[in-house]
Symmetry: D3
Subunit: 307 residues, 6 copies
């Protein structure tokens, strides 16, 4: 702070160069104006507050009493829904600029927020089943409370269930940003488009990847570094990637998938199957299968494990 020689950094020149690059980039994208996007920092704060609304004692404030808890929940809801509404507004503006008019024709940011809010109790119910599943599935867990405050799998699933709801409502950008907040915090990468039923448990979790069109049944358990990916990307006649087709696995109820297993393509793991560690699997297996490395022959394939 106290050095007597204050140097110049050539700022005016840098500012001009950077402006030129921005103008160029806009022209390349045939845009007039730079987009205004939702903020990751604000969305992270929104998820923290929603977590506090859903589990006020354990993820909100430890000192809440029976008489004060509803005031805390109501006041936090009012704050967080107002903030969420602003972020949704930004996504709607952005979608409009992308000419995705169908997505935004029907309702306002307020409407979206209301629809989202109405589903919060349902999310709480699902998360209660996830908590119970974690408690029962991990011999080290001594209580569901402990799972809630310790397990990265729970962090990922809370974010997923919030993000998935927003994705369903037609807000894929905010949904994806929330998924990536969880990905950064846990190393677990669940696309908000994936459909995951109740009582879902991910243990350890680092390196788990679950693709956009994956479908996961009830009471499924997954360990670290498991991939539910796409076998290959389809290209159309002009060589462009085809978007949106069903390309990720279906995992039926009560399946367990151990660490490092790679499951690729629109295949089905039948109800109650167990997939062993490090297994590489690109074909469906019937209900009740017990798959391990020895049983799986390496298959030839063209492309690999892109998602």
């Amino acid at each position: 702070m106290t050095d007597t020689v204050r140097s110049d950094w050539g700022i005016p020149h840098l500012v001009a160069e950077l402006r030129q690059l921005r103008v160029q980039a806009l022209e390349n994208r045939r845009r007039q104006q730079p987009p205004r996007l939702p903020s990751r920092k604000i969305l992270a704060n929104i998820v923290d507050q929603l977590s506090a609304v859903l589990f006020p004692n354990r993820l909100g404030l430890p000192d809440l009493t029976d008489e004060s808890i509803d005031y805390f929940v109501g006041n936090t809801l009012d704050n967080v829904l107002r903030q969420l509404s602003s972020q949704i507004e930004l996504e709607l503006l952005f979608a409009r600029e992308l000419a995705e008019t169908s997505a935004v024709a029907h309702c306002s940011a307020s409407d979206y927020t209301l629809q989202f809010a109405a589903q919060l109790p349902t999310i709480r119910q699902l998360l209660d089943t996830d908590l119970q599943a974690a408690y029962e599935g991990d011999p080290a867990a001594r209580s569901a409370d402990e799972v809630l405050v310790c397990y990265p799998g729970m962090v990922a699933v809370i974010h997923y269930r919030i993000a998935h709801l927003l994705y369903q409502l037609g807000l894929p950008l905010i949904a994806r940003m929330i998924s990536e907040i969880a990905h950064s915090a846990t190393g677990i990468d669940i696309h908000p488009g994936a459909q995951i039923a109740d009582s879902f448990f991910i243990d350890h979790g680092t390196g788990v990847v679950i693709g956009e069109t994956a479908i996961i049944g009830s009471r499924v358990r997954i360990y670290q570094a498991v991939t539910l990916g796409a076998k290959r990307f389809n290209k159309d006649d002009s060589g462009m990637l085809v978007k949106g087709n069903l390309r990720h696995p279906i995992v039926e109820d009560d399946v367990v998938i151990y660490a490092g297993a790679t499951i690729l393509g629109r295949i089905t793991l039948g109800k109650g199957s167990t997939i062993g560690g490090n297994v590489w699997l690109t074909h469906s297996v019937p209900a009740g299968s017990q798959i391990n490395q020895a049983q799986v022959r390496a298959e030839s394939f063209d492309a690999g494990a892109g998602i």
Copy 2:
């Protein structure tokens, strides 16, 4: 802030629904009152301050002088131990509610804090060996100082050594929460119950998992995505998972385990062995072994790499 129409979100209805779900959840767990749990945010702050106490110049403040450093250390200690004591109090309350009376009969939060504090110099000594091991083990490291401020492996080991001490004192919840703070920051997941001797070095680290009953000797070096896991979970006659049995590997002194290796079950890696990258190993190997993928036959197994 200035929109003139302020909408209602249906908050009273949501608050009522969420209350009902909380009451239901408490009833399901046969509890009267929601638990009051330690706070992850406060624990993260506690670890930051303990790191500053242990390495005041490098992880505390860069401007400390020889005359000021002890005041910084002493004052930070006073703050951090007071905060830790409050968090321990919350764990003791929680344990009491779980009727784990044995764990809490003997001493107060203050006593626990005192016992913890007394071991801080020992932790510093161990961490000095870890630093030296990292410096010697990585050709890219130019000084131990650089290791301390750069390497995620050091972040994980600092958290582990603090968490393990708390685990040993009978505070498994706080210990686990601290482990998960490191897991989130580094992708390295070391259970606080694992026993790890001096001069331990993890390079890169993302995806490393070390289980609760693992035992690791001196001068062991581990690379990214290594798992020291359980081969299978034992169930009792009623089908419930058996807790607490010895199910993770013993790694003897001077072992090196390269990236992606998976070591499962209560097996022993003999002193001075080297385990190659991506090796899948479920049986013990004698001292001095050099194991690579070619040598390991795939073994059949039932369950996989759960921890």
Copy 3:
């Protein structure tokens, strides 16, 4: 705050013990004074501000107008370059203490900062190609804007391009600390010494490791858990690790490497090759190769996947 019994923690004793250990550690390193090191927290803030300078609307403030944006960019530049200059000063002091005089003989912290600043437009240009590559490479991406705010791969590449520039200027410590900030946030570990050309895209990314001497061409695409590592470390006659030799792969233009592939040693992946998921590869492949697991025989090797 209000408990009436305020306990003593034995602080004077702890402070004395910790001082003794610090003195011991300094003596072991033959130093008189503890080093003063750059701060990770400040560097993280610096990268955030540089990101805002490079992409002011999308990573800075959403409310910037055409008339205000240059003021925002110029003012942020002034702040961030001043802070960066202070951190560079600390690295230069540290280097001087390590007797690395050659590195610091030629210029001041201000000079380094100026040289860094002058390259910011070049970094922006490269990042524009990376954004475009991500948009084209991922069927789920609907716009380059979305990639910028969502994709962990972009976070990692922004940090890499900044860190690599600092590394090239002769500031390896700050460079490495910035790399580790990205590693912590994304699970992607790119050594700042690696050389990566334009249009680089990492999808999902958790567990990716790219070593110090790796060279990556234009339009390369990489998926999660890919390692570009060293096959083994060379030791000199006295058994010490040899530093700085070329030990990581060369990846030519237009190569795609799918999830979990491990590429080790100074080998070359020829232009336009595709490496399948989970492939373990330790020899060069010619241009246009299509490599999958079935084609790769497990090779015997001594050491493994250290970097």
Copy 4:
């Protein structure tokens, strides 16, 4: 931050000298332990929150809706009462150390807090009359809302009514600290022991002083620099000041006192009187008096305007 010579300040010597002075001071006061006192900063925050509870839209948040306002009020109440209870606990400890056992024998900090909370609606009712009085008494005021957010007199009266309630409950230290927060913000110094009825209005206010035993009726209006002070302090036989006797004026209903007037001693200003600017008054005046400078002869007196 970057100067290479870090100087020593002689801290150990200073610390020792300051300790000796503290020990000396404790001995002079015949104490063993330094007191633990309430915090001015926390009390300022408490008053801000209580203001928000009392006037949620105008002194709380502007965006509250009809459905969210009660949640805001209830949640803020829970926070602020918890904090207040901690501060009361500190005052009770302090009182106990002063051996003022009578004051603390009867109830806990919680009890005091409850009694305080129960009177908040009464305080709101009184403040509504004060607001109305200000609106009617100032030709420049266009609405009571404006008075609430603009007028220093209202700030002083809000603090006074809170502080007086605490004073009545037997918490003179916290009461006084809150009075001084208002004094600092407004230049208006109302002792919390003064008794002031409804519809009280102070305009401009800088320099107003109202003593501990003053009694003020309904609908009184006071301008800047008015003193309601003590004429002299009585001393006992040993020359010590006598505490607690009734030494300040009684101001009856509907009195107006213009700027700079000094009213000293236990005199009575009769109902409906008007006291002109700069008047110096040390004797009672009957109801309906109109006093100005010309009418008042300077009186001889011994001591003056101490309070």
Copy 5:
């Protein structure tokens, strides 16, 4: 934080009582909805930023260089004008609710903000004359820079000139709130409606009061506790106070008024006059007058020094 008994404060009952009082108050004011008002905290921040815009080196950041200063000014302007526009929006809403439609018919918050911004250079010019006047008028001042960072009179005048501009634009509420921010910080109470020419200097300042219709010429100097007030308030036939009439003094160029002088009513102090300390003056004096206490006979008057 850790006490095991968590008490109830009777919050639901308090919330209900406070709601009832709010409803009652709204009814009394014949309103349906509580007003949304500008925020004093935000306005204080706005004035701080405007001060930094006007004097960037001395009231902004000390480290600005010649090349960076304009970026700082431009960026701060963008932030502060956006915030000011939001606060103006709230005042316009409030005025509309008060049915003061004339005030708000003509322009939007943006328009007001633009008009305000356009006058900032004029404000800077006036403040430069004020600075020079202070430097010349105080024997203790060594430089105009010192005056700017030290003198409460300058703080008051900066706030006044900003507030007066807003008042002239038709935004009396924000204007008044800004005046009161200065009043709280300095004890100097200048109504934003007062008209004050260039080169104005207030020394010490505590207790100064300048009324709404006062007019002050060039090069006027005022000391602490000076009042430029109204002699009495006129009432209409129904006994209500008449608003807005010209009731405060006119002070011509080059007048000096010493500490404690009280000047009341629509009188004129002629050019170049000097008014001595503690003088009480309610009639005009010609140019060049030298007034002191001995010369002033106490005048009889009815009401006093209300403003």
Copy 6:
């Protein structure tokens, strides 16, 4: 945040106009560069920390224990002296620019800081006498502790004693800025050049002004709105104000001055005198005088109560 039309404020034009005014102002002052000045905000923080150093339990942290208190004091000292040294550096730079070379020839900012630090115990001793004087002088005070946390007079005296020491060392700008921080908080305006002996007590205090060359003996007591000012300013032959002459009163030991008294000029109030409320005094009085309004004839004078 979400309004779709983002207006322009004409920022480039404003920035240019303001730049021109700054350039003009510099030219008027015959300067090349704008000054870099100490920061009021940082100085306020410095005084807070010094207060905590001087009275760690009462103005620092309430939870300090006997073993932790010295660490708190030492660590706070290190922080605050470092910050103070930076601020002193700015004043020295500023003085150098003003060509006041004599003031800065002899020592560095570090030297000044050391000299300041060495006097802190002396300041504590003096403040202990002030505390005792307040406790004995106010019938409402129940303990010296209460005085320390409640009384604005103590706030003013703490700031004064710190500022006076800096003034004596030759740092008049920082000294004055600290005085003004107290003036703003308390309405008490003590010039840092005044010389005040031990056991000084100001009660209430709003409006007190004590001039630069005033001398105050031991055990003096002063009430609100007392002025110790200059009778007139001397001008030299050219009509410029003469600086630095002795123009304020000498108040001998054991004098009491009641509220509103105005004492002007280089007169002496003899030991043990009592000056009544509102007295206007411009001549010396012998020891033991009892002065009240009736005894003082209004004196004629030329100029008044400037300081």
